[in-house]
């Protein structure tokens, strides 16, 4: 990728781009490509929507209170640990 990335290269890096896992130089190249390439930009929006949905839906699950209480009780009672 000496110059700018082509679409195939950009699409392969969309997730890493969204997760901010690219080097600043590569991130800059992808940003420039996305600014001028509508299909890749549309794909970016789609992948972003997917990742946001995933985090939001899965984060609804939390440690049940009874487990939290059980763990606290065990930590504070060495004979039980």
């Amino acid at each position: 990728m000496a110059g700018g990335p082509n679409c195939q290269e950009a699409l392969a890096l969309l997730h890493d781009y969204l997760k901010q896992e690219l080097t600043p130089e590569l991130e800059d190249k992808i940003t420039k490509h996305l600014q001028k390439c509508r299909p890749c930009f549309a794909n970016l929006q789609f992948e972003r929507g997917f990742l946001e949905m995933l985090e939001q839906k899965a984060k609804g699950q939390c440690c049940p209170d009874r487990l939290r209480q059980r763990i606290l009780a065990q930590l504070r009672d060495p004979s039980d640990a």
Partner: protein
């Protein structure tokens, strides 16, 4: 000489805020709420016993995820069915985007899918895909730390993630079509 009460309170301050994350990873690995609870409890006790070995300033989440995963592999996985060995490289990348782009280019159909269905679809992924997906896309651990937790190179993390996301997208897209959240893209007629 360390003060046990101070030690315990330092441990609690670091570890208790991570219980939700530990429980979520435990749930996806065991796919069973009551086993997930036992796994988290075992993990926290093991972490407490080796608290002296935790290096302050390093990532507490990676440390805890590693203990949870090792505990799962050593003490839990044997009691449930072994993961089906599969050629992870053989999973074909599938672009749900290509199928959905005309009607729903922003993937709005994803948010119509109920939470439980999304979680079931994650649980249906091979274990190697599930753990990497949870650590990256739900718990937001950087790739380098995921590589440490799993004991694999960063390149492996990336390629598993790529395939995990594609496979999950495909399952969710199929479900969305089935539920009528999105129309199936016209497929080429089957050859006689």
């Amino acid at each position: 000489m360390t003060d046990p009460a101070a030690d315990r309170s330092a441990f609690e301050a670091e570890v208790l805020p991570q219980l939700d994350s530990l429980y979520r990873l435990g749930l996806r690995l065991t796919t069973d709420p009551s086993r997930a609870e036992d796994l988290v409890q075992d993990t926290v006790l093991k972490a407490f016993r080796s608290w002296q070995r935790f290096q302050p300033g390093t990532n507490i989440r990676s440390w805890l995820f590693t203990i949870l995963r090792n505990t799962f592999i050593n003490d839990y996985r044997r009691r449930q069915r072994e993961p089906i060995p599969m050629d992870l490289e053989a999973v074909e990348p599938h672009a749900a985007f290509r199928a959905a782009q005309d009607e729903d280019p922003e993937g709005a159909f994803f948010s119509q899918i109920v939470d439980a269905k999304v979680l079931n679809a994650i649980d249906a992924l091979p274990e190697e895909f599930r753990e990497v997906l949870v650590l990256s896309d739900i718990e937001n651990l950087p790739y380098a730390e995921i590589a440490e937790v799993l004991g694999v190179p960063v390149g492996t993390v990336k390629s598993r993630l790529f395939r995990a996301r594609r496979q999950l997208q495909e399952a969710l897209y199929d479900h969305a079509v089935e539920m009528g959240y999105i129309r199936a893209r016209d497929r080429a007629p089957a050859k006689p």
